[in-house]
């Protein structure tokens, strides 16, 4: 009927750099190119405005954020014993220091950091955002003043170390810089000792971990351990040996065919029967292993796609140079395959982080499980919207940050950008 008005026909294409238009022209082109577009734009703008005003009104007039402010500790660490919380503070401080030092050192060695020249202003943006969030959040959450001061001190430490190592990092010889990546696994292991206890520190059983702490622990544990599983199973699936191939296929299809919740069900209700008496781990660790093997199967598929994208000639060339199959895989095929598989891999990690919320369905007190206990508290009954919204923002930020990091890493690993 309205064929006479010809809507824009082509998908948008970035304007050539010479064709600079005024903002008015741009606005007109984007929103009011045709009468139909104009109507759609006006309707959408009206709807957006109404939604925005409604949300503003709710968030600042009706919502009672006390439910968040009164339970920050619970959301952060669950029922972790109060007297042992200094260990978590120490861990956060060490993590802040490590982040600051690594960040600065990478920037001060532009050759080690191939991405440095790609986004110079991002650093300033990141510092500004970090400083703002760290300054504002403890106040908005109405943390007690000593805790506010601690967060500010940790942020200051991070920024100072970033500044110092960025300024004088070049004095650090490159020989030492090679060990920088080792700092992270070391910090992780030390963090596990701090959280769980042992080596002379009093033990805190996993049943007392909770909140964001449990969520991050479960996700990081599963991510770290599922990675080798994924690589081994992917290689097994592409192996010429039938037994290896079929057992890999069986594992992958078994895991991918079932919903995660049924696998968690398996872990909670049946795994205990399958292990010798006394071997069955704690409920939290059982769930952690299920998450690990679950993620491993999906990663195997991602890595397999990466392996399939590496031309066979690469392996043949490496073999004809005299490399053994393991050497050829390690030095030639896997580096290329993993780079190709990177987006899918990070996508899998993001979905694993989201999948940790399912732990609340089997009665563990992860972030969502803790939130549900808070909402069941008569004092905070009916504060669902505030709590769910906060959790959503938190998850969104974590997942979006992982996605951003993945894209940055992709660019950094892209051979077409490398200086050599």
């Amino acid at each position: 009927m309205t064929t006479s008005s010809s809507p824009p026909l082509l998908p948008p294409r970035p304007a050539p750099p010479s064709a600079r238009r005024s903002w008015r022209g741009a606005l007109r082109q984007e929103l009011f190119a045709t009468p139909l577009d104009g109507v759609i734009s006006v309707l959408l703008l009206a709807a957006l405005l109404a939604a925005g005003v409604g949300f503003w009104h709710w968030a600042f007039r009706q919502a009672q954020w006390a439910v968040i402010q009164a339970n920050t500790t619970l959301f952060a660490v669950g029922r972790y014993p109060l007297l042992q919380q200094w260990r978590l503070w120490l861990l956060v401080t060490l993590a802040g220091a490590t982040i600051g030092a690594s960040w600065g050192l990478l920037r001060s060695h532009p050759r080690a950091d191939r991405s440095g020249t790609l986004w110079p202003i991002n650093d300033l943006v990141a510092i500004a955002v970090l400083a703002f969030v760290a300054a504002w959040l403890p106040v908005a959450l109405k943390l007690p003043v000593p805790l506010q001061l601690r967060w500010w001190a940790i942020t200051a430490l991070l920024l100072v170390l970033r500044g110092v190592s960025g300024q004088w990092g070049q004095l650090v010889p490159r020989r030492l810089l090679r060990f920088l990546p080792l700092l992270w696994p070391a910090l992780y292991l030390f963090g596990m000792v701090l959280i769980a206890g042992g080596l002379g520190v009093p033990r805190v059983p996993p049943s007392e971990w909770g909140g964001l702490l449990l969520t991050l622990l479960m996700a990081s544990f599963a991510i770290l351990l599922s990675f080798p599983i994924g690589i081994v199973v992917a290689l097994g699936r592409r192996s010429t040996l039938p037994l290896l191939r079929w057992s890999s296929v069986l594992y992958i299809e078994f895991i991918r065919g079932a919903p995660l919740i049924t696998l968690l069900f398996l872990g909670q209700n049946i795994l205990g029967y399958m292990l010798p008496g006394g071997w069955a781990p704690d409920r939290v660790w059982r769930a952690a292993w299920v998450l690990t093997f679950f993620c491993g199967a999906y990663l195997a598929e991602a890595v397999r796609a990466g392996l399939a994208a590496v031309p066979v000639g690469q392996l043949e060339a490496a073999r004809s140079l005299g490399l053994s199959v393991p050497q050829a895989l390690r030095h030639v095929v896997l580096p290329q395959a993993l780079r190709i598989a990177l987006p899918a891999t990070v996508g899998q990690f993001i979905s694993l982080l989201q999948d940790t919320t399912l732990l609340s369905l089997i009665g563990l007190l992860d972030l969502l499980g803790t939130a549900r206990t808070v909402m069941a508290n008569p004092e905070f009954l009916g504060k669902n919207a505030e709590v769910y919204l906060t959790l959503a923002v938190l998850f969104w930020c974590c997942c979006a940050a992982l996605g951003l990091g993945s894209r940055a890493l992709e660019r950094r690993l892209d051979p077409s950008h490398s200086p050599t």
Binding site: L10, P11, S41, Q354, L368, A385, Y388, A392, C399, G403
Partner: protein, 328 residues
């Protein structure tokens, strides 16, 4: 022959693969034997050895909603069938809804309207980075349970939305179009969806819709630009170009991608337990709590979901063959 250097057997390429396979095979067998041996021993000790006789005993718990007749005196197998039917209902409605929403949003990413394009982007980015379980709980507790009760229900032509459910106009007795009516402060309509079901499918559709939108966007982006330009120069307008030129070609890329999204929707439907919808997983969990038959319930669940995945895959492979280009 003595001057030919013999390759030692541990480096012989005819022997090594068999050694590796043998080692892996033995390791797998040992692990499986250990696990199964323990399982049998422990289950025997607990008196829970694999049996299906309990399926015939009365379930003695009720299910909130069921498409087939059911009451608590009926046997366990019946309640599991009720759960399966409920799951299938959510999956089918979810598939259709997610496809429609995803296709619309995926196409909006190529609209000439900048606002629409950016909104489509924002929708995808927001939805994909928030856990589905959180979204389902949000829809159920924050949106659907906060609806007004029957007397103050939200009303549109043919649609009534209240705390007690979603009432829709539909064909009733003798193919007569009939809308919802209020009788004694209770809504009656040919089609009533419970709040649990509504929350579940709203969550599943909006979540899967975002992933479908990405698949559709990728498929459309894979159509060469020349196709748009050729259609344009023939005088086709946007919607005709999309419908007759671009989408048929994009479908070849889209359909395989949809397959995995559909399967993940089917698996995600098991999260219905969080919003109190009596799907297969939810009734299985109750069954386990009453009978203690963990292994049998798990095997049934696994089998049911594998079957659903298989059916979706087979159907989508059929669709895939339909949309492929037939070369002469």
């Amino acid at each position: 022959m003595s001057d030919i250097q013999r390759v030692p057997w541990w480096r012989d390429r005819r022997v090594v693969p068999w050694l590796v396979q043998g080692a892996v095979g033995v390791a797998i067998l040992v692990v499986i034997a250990l696990l199964l041996g323990n399982l049998v021993r422990n289950l025997t000790a607990a008196g829970l050895l694999l049996t299906w006789r309990w399926l015939g005993q009365p379930a003695s718990f009720d299910v909130a909603e069921s498409l087939i007749p059911f009451d608590a005196s009926m046997p366990y197998w019946r309640v599991l069938v009720v759960g399966l039917v409920n799951s299938l209902r959510a999956i089918v409605v979810g598939l259709v809804g997610a496809t429609v929403l995803g296709t619309a949003v995926g196409m909006a990413a190529f609209s000439g309207n900048g606002l629409l394009r950016r909104l489509a982007r924002v929708y995808v980015e927001v939805i994909r980075n928030i856990p589905l379980l959180l979204q389902l709980l949000f829809w159920y507790f924050v949106v659907f349970l906060a609806l007004p009760n029957s007397t103050a229900a939200l009303q549109w032509p043919g649609v009534v939305l209240s705390k007690s459910g979603l009432y829709l106009a539909w064909f009733a007795d003798g193919f007569q179009w009939q809308g919802p009516t209020l009788v004694n402060d209770v809504w009656r309509a040919p089609l009533r969806l419970s709040v649990e079901f509504s929350a579940l499918i709203t969550g599943l559709i909006t979540y899967t819709g975002a992933f479908v939108a990405e698949v559709v966007r990728g498929g459309i982006a894979a159509v060469p630009r020349g196709q748009w330009e050729a259609a344009t120069s023939l005088g086709l307008h946007w919607s005709a170009t999309m419908r007759t030129v671009v989408l048929p070609q994009a479908l070849r890329v889209i359909v395989p991608g949809l397959n995995s999204q559909y399967i993940s929707l089917a698996k995600n439907s098991a999260l219905a337990v969080a919003v109190g919808y009596a799907d297969l997983y939810s009734v299985s969990e109750t069954t386990l709590n009453q009978t203690g038959r963990a292994l049998e319930v798990f095997l049934l669940l696994l089998g049911a979901y594998l079957l659903i995945d298989l059916v979706i895959s087979v159907l989508m492979n059929g669709v895939n063959q339909l949309v492929q280009i037939r070369e002469r």
